[in-house]
C-alpha cells in the first residue's frame, strides 16, 4: 500500500501547456508516473509529446476526467487562476467518483484559498493537497507515482511516511532516511501557505492506517499551530513512532521567512512551542535535520522494528 497515490493513479496535469506544466510533466513521466492527459482551457485537442509519450490536452476537467477516468490532478496554473482551477477540479471529481487535487502553485491570494478550500470541503470525495507545496510521491522499485516537482531519483520504496510543510527540507528528510538504509512509503508536502487543504493530521491518520508505513517523519516550520494540534492528536491516536523537526528556531518574530505562512505573530507560532508540543506528545525530536536519520533509527529500535 501507500497513501493517496500509487501505480494505479491516473493523473491529469492542469496547466499542461505552460512552462511549469511541460517541464514537470516530462519529469513525472520519466519517473513512470501514469499521466493520462492535461487540461488547458482553449487548447483542447492538442497532442503533446512528453519524453516519447503522447499526451492529449482537454479544454476542461469535466471532459478530461470523462475521457480518461483520471482520479488525480496536479495544478501548475499561475497564481491568479489557480484557485479557479482547484474549484473546477473539485467539482469535476465529485461528479465522477472523487479524486485528489495537488496544487503546486505558489503565491495564491489568501482569500482565494479561503474560498476554494470551503468549496473543496463541500465535495466529500475530493482531497486537496497544497498549495505552495512540492506535491506527493509514492516510490516503487522502478520509478513510481510522482505528482509534483520533487526530484524522483532521491527516493526509494520503503516503510517511512514523510509529511512536511517545506519543499527542499522534505528532500533533506528523504535523504536522511536513505542515509540510514530506509526508504519511503509516501512523501507528502502539505505546503507553506497559511490556508491550505490537507493538514498534518490528515496525513498522520492515513499513515497510521497504511500497512506499508511503519514510522513517520514530520517536518514543520514556524507560524500557526498546526504542529501543536498534530502532536496533540498523535499522542492519542498514533501507534506508529514519529520523528519531528521544526524549522525556524532562529527566525525573528514578525518577519515572514519566505513562505507566506512562516511568520511568528503576536508571540505565537515559535519553533520552541512546537518542539515542546512534540516532546509532550512523545514524538522523537531531531533538533538538527542532519540528525533525522539517527533519531529515526532510535525510534525504530525502541518499537522493536530495527
Amino acid at each position: 500500500m501507500s497513501i493517496w497515490v500509487d501505480e494505479n493513479s491516473k493523473i491529469l496535469i492542469q496547466g499542461i501547456t505552460g512552462k511549469q506544466g511541460t517541464f514537470h510533466g516530462t519529469r513525472m513521466i520519466e519517473y513512470e508516473t501514469n499521466v493520462v492527459g492535461g487540461v488547458t482551457p482553449g487548447k483542447g485537442g492538442q497532442k503533446l509529446n512528453f519524453s516519447g509519450k503522447e499526451i492529449t490536452v482537454y479544454d476542461s476537467m469535466q471532459e478530461a476526467i470523462g475521457k480518461t477516468g483520471a482520479n488525480v490532478s496536479v495544478i501548475y496554473v499561475p497564481a491568479r487562476f489557480a484557485s479557479s482551477a482547484i474549484v473546477e477540479a473539485a467539482n469535476a471529481f465529485q461528479e465522477n467518483g472523487g479524486g485528489l487535487i495537488v496544487c503546486i502553485t505558489e503565491g495564491i491570494p489568501i482569500l482565494d484559498m479561503v474560498n476554494a478550500v470551503a468549496k473543496v470541503e463541500k465535495c466529500p470525495d475530493v482531497r486537496l493537497i497544497g498549495p505552495n507545496c512540492p506535491g506527493i510521491i509514492t516510490p516503487r522499485e522502478n520509478g513510481g507515482c510522482k505528482v509534483g516537482i520533487m526530484p524522483g531519483f532521491i527516493h526509494a520504496k520503503g516503510r517511512i511516511g514523510i509529511v512536511s510543510k517545506s519543499g527542499t527540507l522534505t528532500y533533506e528528510a528523504v535523504a536522511q532516511t536513505m542515509s540510514v538504509g530506509e526508504g519511503q512509503s509516501t512523501c507528502v508536502g502539505i505546503g507553506g501557505d497559511p490556508v491550505n487543504g490537507t493538514g498534518f493530521i490528515d496525513c498522520l491518520r492515513a499513515f497510521e492506517d497504511d500497512s506499508q508505513t511503519e514510522a513517520i517523519v514530520l517536518i514543520g516550520e514556524i507560524g500557526g499551530t498546526a504542529e501543536e494540534e498534530a502532536a496533540e492528536w498523535a499522542s492519542k491516536n498514533m501507534s506508529k513512532p514519529i520523528v519531528g523537526f521544526v524549522a525556524g528556531s532562529t527566525a525573528p518574530p514578525g518577519k515572514r521567512m519566505g513562505h507566506a505562512g512562516a511568520i511568528i505573530s503576536g508571540g505565537k507560532g515559535t519553533a520552541e512551542e512546537k518542539f515542546a508540543a512534540f516532546e509532550r506528545a512523545g514524538i522523537y525530536v531531531a533538533r538538527d535535520p542532519s540528525e533525522i536519520g539517527n533519531v529515526l533509527i532510535k525510534a525504530l529500535k525502541d518499537v522493536g522494528i530495527k
Binding site: 479561503v114 474560498n115 526530484p151 519543499g167 535535520p289 542532519s290
Partner: protein
Amino acid sequence: MNIHEYQAKAIFSGSGVKVVKGIHCTNVDEALNAYDELNSDIVAVKSQIHAGGRGKGVLYDPITNDLIMEGGVKIAFSKEEVRQYASSIIGNKLVTKQTGKEGKIVNNLYIESGCNISHEYYLAVLIDRETKSVLVMGSTEGGVDIEEVAEKTPEAIHKIWADPLEGLANEDVVMFAELLGLEGTSKHEMVEMVNSLYAMFLDKDCSMIEINPLVKSESGEIIALDGKVSFDDSADFRHPWRNDLRDLTEEEEVEIRANKYGLSYVKLDGNIGCLVNGAGLAMASMDVIKLYGSEPANFLDIGGGATRESITAAFEIILEDKNVEGILVNIFGGIIQCDMVANSVIEASKEIGLDVPLVVRFSGTNHVEGTEILNKSDLNVYTATTLAEGAEKIVNLTRRSK
C-alpha cells in the same frame, strides 16, 4: 504590505467605517494649517510609522540620540502645543516596542480632531488559520496591548467567524455587539462597523485590519480612532492602486532589491551568511548554524528559478552586511542543478572578490559534479556532504580567522 494610519483611515471613510476628521501633514507648517482647518479645541498629533506602540514610544534625535519627547501620539490643547509636538516628532526617530532599538524616522504626521471618549474597545479582522476563515475579534479592553488581554483575561475577547461562502451571519454580528456591552444606537453602529470592515477586508484583499482603540463617543457613536491595515501581497495583481500607498522608507531597501532577483532575503544580526534553496531548508540552515555555536546573518532563499545572475546578486547582498565573516551555501538540488550553482559560485566570488571563508554543501541533482567543479577550481572553498558538517566547518573557520 502595511500602510500608515492616515491611509487606512482614508480607506475606512470610503468603506463606510466612521472616523473623525483628520489631515495628513509632512511638516510643522502643514500641521499648524491643519489645526486651523480642523477648527477643533483639542487635536491629536500622531506620528505615522508602520510599527505599533506609538503612543508609548519615545522620540530621539536621529544623530545625537538625545531624548526629544516621550510619546509619539500627543493631545494638543492649543496651536502652540501643535507646533511644539509636531516639531518634536517630524524628522526624529521614534522607538516603540515594535520598532526595535534602531527605531523609525517619522516623516509623516496625522492631525486629528478631538473626540469625547466614553469607552475604548479593540477590534480586529484577520485570517484564522485553524478554521480557514475570516475572524472578527473584539474586546471591551481597548487601547491596551491586546496580547496582554489575551493572556490575562481571555474571557474579555469575543470572536465570530465568517462562513467563507455565506459571509458573516447577521445574528452573530448582533450577538458580538451585545457581548461588547453595547445597546441601542451604539449596538446598531457596531453592527454596521463590523459589516463594513468585513466587506472592506474582502474587497481590498487585506490580511489584517486592527483598530485599537475603537471608541464609543459620549454621544454613543462608534468611531475608529486608530487603524492598522495590512494587505495580502499575493493579491497585488488585482490592486494596482496599492503602489501609491507604498512607503518605501518603511521597507528594507535590500529586501526589495533581493525580491527583484527572485530572492527572498531577511537580514539578521549574526555573522554567518547563508545562501540556500527553499524557505524551509533556509530556516533549517540558520538553526543548525546556531546549534554549532554561531548566529546566522540572514535568511536567504534563492528559489527554484535561480540563475547565475541571481546567485551573484545573492552573494553581493550577503556581503553588504559588514557583520558577515563567512558564508554557508546549502543547496539540495531538485529543479536547481548543483553544477550550475557551483559554476555560479565560482564566477560570483571572482566578480566580487570574495574574501571571507566559504563552505558549500551540495546534495541532490548533480551534487557530485557540483562538488567536483568546486574542488578543481582555484577558489578557496570548503565542501561538505551534510548540513551539519557544513555548519560546523563554517563556524570553525570564522572562529579561526578571528
